[in-house]
Symmetry: C2
Subunit: 434 residues, 2 copies
């Protein structure tokens, strides 16, 4: 049956056509915009067309935020207009903008250690250079700078915060992303400079120049709104109450069309549903596809799902998530204690022919399914090659044109095999012994 599944998967790259449709016909789908509404309708239709049942949209809270104008001129002393994006959730500047000298730090620790008089009244620039790593873990350290930097700069009296984009490209394409305002700090405007603009600024400051920047951001947080998780199922033939959950997120940032983040995941998940539905025998357990709302700015969708389904946690046999774009799969990571369990072994045997390694670590899940961890749901990680992912992630270049059809096909195969094996196995994962 796995052979037939693979053969069908390879006959036609429908993940790609699904993704093109999402990017072209829906486009950007920031929570509570017209694109978000269109995306929910698109997902329901795509799931029905794929042969899924119980297709529904389930309400989820969503953060509202508006971007508005964005400009930042550096006086190096020569004038250099830069390309930047406000961080998601940021407050704006006064309408006429603001102007101040820039002070640079290369880490949060360096900022924390600085005397307040060095920072007070200035614009803080955080020059953190994200490394390009296959497993994408360079993002972990980077996103902390973006999330926490603005409040930590504000604590020292900064009037605004710029970060070097958390990304690995060298394009004039800033990487947006959420920030987190700490409750005890003033909320100051914050934005990401494109990486080459950040590097230019760093070179000037390292050369000892006094750099003054003007900054105008028209963004503003708005009251909380509402979006929806879109869910569809292939009801199990023998144990319909037992669920194998495949997650992805339907929302995207506003700058690109969310092709890699996370249109690819949505396309993969729906296509896995279609491939399983097309087999002569339905899986024994229920396979549930959940496309979560508002991952990017508050993870409202994942939290709403965990809250609504907490009572069914014990019947969630496994959960896994596609939220690393089109990256080819390179490793399987299992729940603790399962590398030699019958289901762990069976799953790895199915995936090894696709070239996956067995990872020595413990599965962690993605952001949307993370709230299910404390409910005891076992996660499976299909680790995807993230070498190129952070060239595009959260930028205007997160577009269909920057997707690799071959890699998208390969990761779809791995997700399909994973879902099929877990949904049909006699065994379950061995629970973690805490």
């Amino acid at each position: 049956m796995l052979d037939l599944l693979l053969r069908n998967a390879r006959a036609e790259n429908r993940s790609l056509s699904l993704l093109r449709s999402l990017c072209d016909d829906v486009g950007p789908r920031f929570p509570c915009t017209a694109g978000d509404v269109a995306a929910v309708a698109w997902a329901k239709e795509a799931m029905r067309e794929a042969g899924l049942s119980n297709v529904r949209a389930e309400k989820a809270p969503a953060t509202l935020w508006e971007r508005g104008v964005e400009s930042c001129m550096l006086r190096l002393p020569r004038l250099q207009p830069t390309v930047l994006s406000a961080l998601g959730g940021s407050v704006g500047t006064p309408e006429q903008g603001l102007e101040a000298p820039v002070v640079m730090f290369t880490s949060l620790a360096e900022l924390d250690a600085a005397p307040a008089e060095l920072v007070s009244g200035r614009i803080v620039y955080l020059h953190h250079v994200m490394p390009r790593l296959r497993d994408g873990t360079g993002y972990n350290g980077g996103s902390v700078v973006r999330m926490s930097g603005p409040s930590r700069a504000a604590k020292k009296g900064a009037i605004a915060c710029l970060v070097r984009s958390i990304g690995t490209d060298s394009m004039r394409a800033p990487h947006t992303g959420a920030l987190f305002y700490e409750p005890d700090s003033p909320m100051i405007p914050a934005a990401a400079l494109s990486t080459p603009d950040g590097d230019l600024l760093a070179r000037a400051l390292l050369a000892g120049k006094e750099v003054v920047s003007t900054l105008k951001l028209g963004c503003k947080p708005l009251p909380v709104g509402e979006s929806a998780n879109v869910i569809g199922e292939l009801v199990g033939s023998e144990r319909p109450e037992e669920v194998v959950l495949i997650g992805a997120h339907l929302d995207s940032w506003d700058l690109g069309t969310g092709a890699l983040d996370d249109g690819a995941g949505c396309a993969i998940a729906i296509q896995v549903g279609r491939l399983l539905a097309a087999l002569p025998q339905r899986p024994r357990r229920t396979v549930r596809i959940a496309l979560f709302a508002n991952e990017e700015l508050g993870t409202g969708g994942g939290l709403a799902y965990a809250s609504a389904y907490a009572k069914d946690a014990a019947t969630h046999i496994a959960a896994f998530e596609a939220d690393q774009g089109d990256g080819a799969p390179w490793a399987l990571r299992l729940p603790a204690g399962n590398r030699e369990s019958p289901l762990g072994v069976r799953l790895y045997q199915a995936l090894a022919p696709l070239g996956l390694e067995l990872d020595a670590g413990t599965s962690r899940g993605g952001v949307d399914i993370a709230p299910l961890r404390q409910l005891g749901v076992p996660f499976v990680d299909l680790r995807q090659d993230a070498t190129r992912y952070f060239d595009f992630h959260h930028t205007a270049n997160d577009l269909f044109e920057n997707v690799s059809p071959e890699d998208l096909a390969r990761v779809t195969e791995a997700f399909a095999l994973t879902a099929h094996v877990i949904a049909n196995a006699e065994e379950r994962f061995i629970p973690a012994t805490l």
Copy 2:
């Protein structure tokens, strides 16, 4: 002596530091802007510092043009804001913008063959996909579309013209570039869409959708102004009146910092002067470095040089130009009849150890030195690898960060050897027999 020259060239990559200084300290240098003025001062200083003599700025006419606001929203029917750049020299739209259905053609021939009623009152979109080729010749066909498309669309009654960017990338980074208004056509506003925006539009139109676009361009041509060619020399020790000319252009488009086009060429040319000046013996002939003004929008600098030095054409032993960015050199192309001439053989023997092939074709020169052809000046082409060049050319990503230090060093070496051989050879190139 060639060995010493190469050793010195490899001791320190000063082309790179020159280029960084031009990009960081001067930045964009569109003709008749403050950046242009700063570039002229920078070039004079850099030439003097490199040990050149007779450093001077010679007046050259320059085209004035202002960019202004730029926006284009596609109704696919869903709304998609696009990223675009007005073409250099374009007139603007009315201040409130314009709005019309879009009609697509995939070539100028297809546009020329179309009935006027299909085009009249519409926005023409020219979907020409430039191929990625090592020798960069994909640009030839592409630039014709950009230069001539607007007037040819206007002849059929189009109210504006969009072209798919003449470039090989897939980024939201439109490629600007000059257009040419034919005298007998109405002047209509014209702009380049980023390649992925163009592809999105093409997919919608090919799917049979009616696409309406709004377009707002604030650009405007202005009266002709003035800039300057910057010239410096290493005066020949034996035949000072005989000149080996190395050209590059000092101006750049406004969007990036002109690192590849043509900051790289300026850095290479100045560094070649420095390397020759540092040798124990000065070249026998004069080596003249000319950084031309306003190549991008009218080639005013090259024309002014040819006009001013027409009387000295016979003493221009050879001219060559660096205007293909940081591309590593892969072939030598000689004046007709010189592949087996003593100087041709001597020059190729010097360059072969750098991995250069001997090209079977005839040298053509670059845009700036082209007017010297009809005066009988022999050209030498050092063909550079253009595989990546058109990912950045004329875009906001034409930045120092996108330069390869290794390739820049290699092309500097090839230019230095070429200048040294020609300036010291007993022979001259054999004149073309017409």
